[in-house]
Structures are given as C-alpha cells and as structure tokens.
Amino acid sequence: MLEEALEHLVKGIVEHSDDVQVHARRIRSGRVLEVRVHPDDLGKVIGRGGRTAKALRTVMNALGDGKYVRVDLLDLNEAR
C-alpha cells in the first residue's frame, strides 16, 4: 500500500509521471521506499529547501502504522 500511495503522490506533482518508479525494501528499523523520477523532476520532488521531500516523508510516515518509513529520492539514471 505504501509504495502505491507514494507513487500516486509523486506522479501527481511531476511532469514525467510515466517515469516514476517506486521500490520498497525492508531494513532492520523499518522500510525504505526508493523513488526514481526523471532527472528534470528531481528538483520538483525535493522542493525548495527540501520542503516537498519533507511533506512526502511526513505523509508516508503517517500511513506507515507507526513503523519507520525512509523515503529516498533518486534520479532515474542514478546507480545504487
């Protein structure tokens, strides 16, 4: 559910919504949601002073049933 919610929130605010990909993985303390967007949209999902990134993290943690959710924002071509 969290991946789907994040994908919906991000797709709604970027220009290249078809390029949005979300992958989830577990870490010891909770979950990591890795969002990849078109390079031109990276600034948009981070926002001025990280405002938009913070808003996304706040909403995802509210939906996460008290478990820690980390949200990583990456450019589509970034290697991990």
Binding site: M1, G12, G47, T52, A55, L56, T58, V59, A62, L63
Partner: protein
C-alpha cells in the same frame, strides 16, 4: 472595458479557475484515500479567493497528525498537484475531519485570552510557533480585542507576539 471594469476583472476571484483547482485537488486526495483504504467524503467550496477542499466523515487512518503536520503536508502536495495541472500557483486550503474549524475556535479563544492578559500586565507576550493559517487567526482575534500583534522568527518556527497598547 472601462477602468472600473478592468479593476473588477483584476481583483474578482476567477470562480471557474478556483472550482477547477478544487476538482484537481479532490481527484488527488481521493486517489490517496482509496489507496490508503480510508473512508471519507470530499466537499468542495470556494471561500473568498481560495478553493477549499474538505474531507469529512473520515474513517480510519490519521491524516491530521500532531499539530496538523500531516494535514499541512498533504495540503502542500495537493497545491503542487494543482499547480502541475493548471499551471497556476494555488492557495488551496485543505481540511480533514474538521480539524481547521476546531483549531480556528481554539486559536480565537487563545488570542482573546492573551490580549486580555497583555492589557492587564502591560507586557508583550510571545506565543508558541504556529503555521501562517494559525497566526492569522490569532492576529485577527487580538485585533478584535483592540490590541496589536506581530509575527517574529523564521518559518517554521515563526510565532505571534501580542503587544501592549
């Protein structure tokens, strides 16, 4: 167009545009509610020069959060979604589960009470940090009580100071 008409065209809120903002916002929020399996009805309205979208009869989930921080985050994202669709910057107001109405009443009471305290003591009084929406309500309540107030500090820690007469 006469000068007066031009003036009206410039200042009158564009109702159709605000309604469109509401539509885009409602779609965005409805999508989120569906995915998160939270029940709620979405009301759309226009108050003055801004679109208002309210999620009412909410069942499940906490989309307001401590001090409304989740609500503010969803509002922020919703404004961006509206901006993407319409190309216009949005000042849309989101409410969830009547939070803003409750907060409005609390803050109005707070502003009135602090104004009375400051009148009595003659000393300025600083309040807790608040969002712009919250500070506006306090400023209005203080003004209604016949005193002045100012905002100090930087966002997100900006706060109201009530000044003695």
């Amino acid at each position: 167009m006469t000068e007066a008409e031009k003036e009206t065209a410039k200042t009158a809120p564009d109702l159709a545009a605000l309604e469109q903002e509401g539509e885009v916002a409602a779609d965005y929020i409805e999508g989120l509610l569906d995915i998160a399996d939270i029940d709620g009805d979405i009301d759309m309205d226009v108050e003055g020069d801004r679109a208002v979208v309210s999620v009412v009869d909410v069942k499940g989930g906490d989309l307001v959060g401590a001090n409304g921080e989740v609500l503010e985050a969803i509002q922020e994202l919703t404004r961006l979604a509206v901006h993407r669709q319409t190309g216009q910057r949005s000042r849309l107001m989101l409410d969830i589960g009547g939070y803003r109405d409750r907060r409005r009443t609390e803050l109005r009471d707070l502003g009135t009470k602090v104004a009375a305290d400051v009148k009595r003591s003659g000393e300025p009084k600083a309040l807790q940090p608040m969002t712009p929406f919250e500070r506006k309500i306090v400023h209005d309540a203080v003004a209604a009580a016949g005193l002045r107030s100012e905002s100090e500090g930087e966002e997100p820690r900006r706060f109201v100071v009530v000044l003695p007469a």
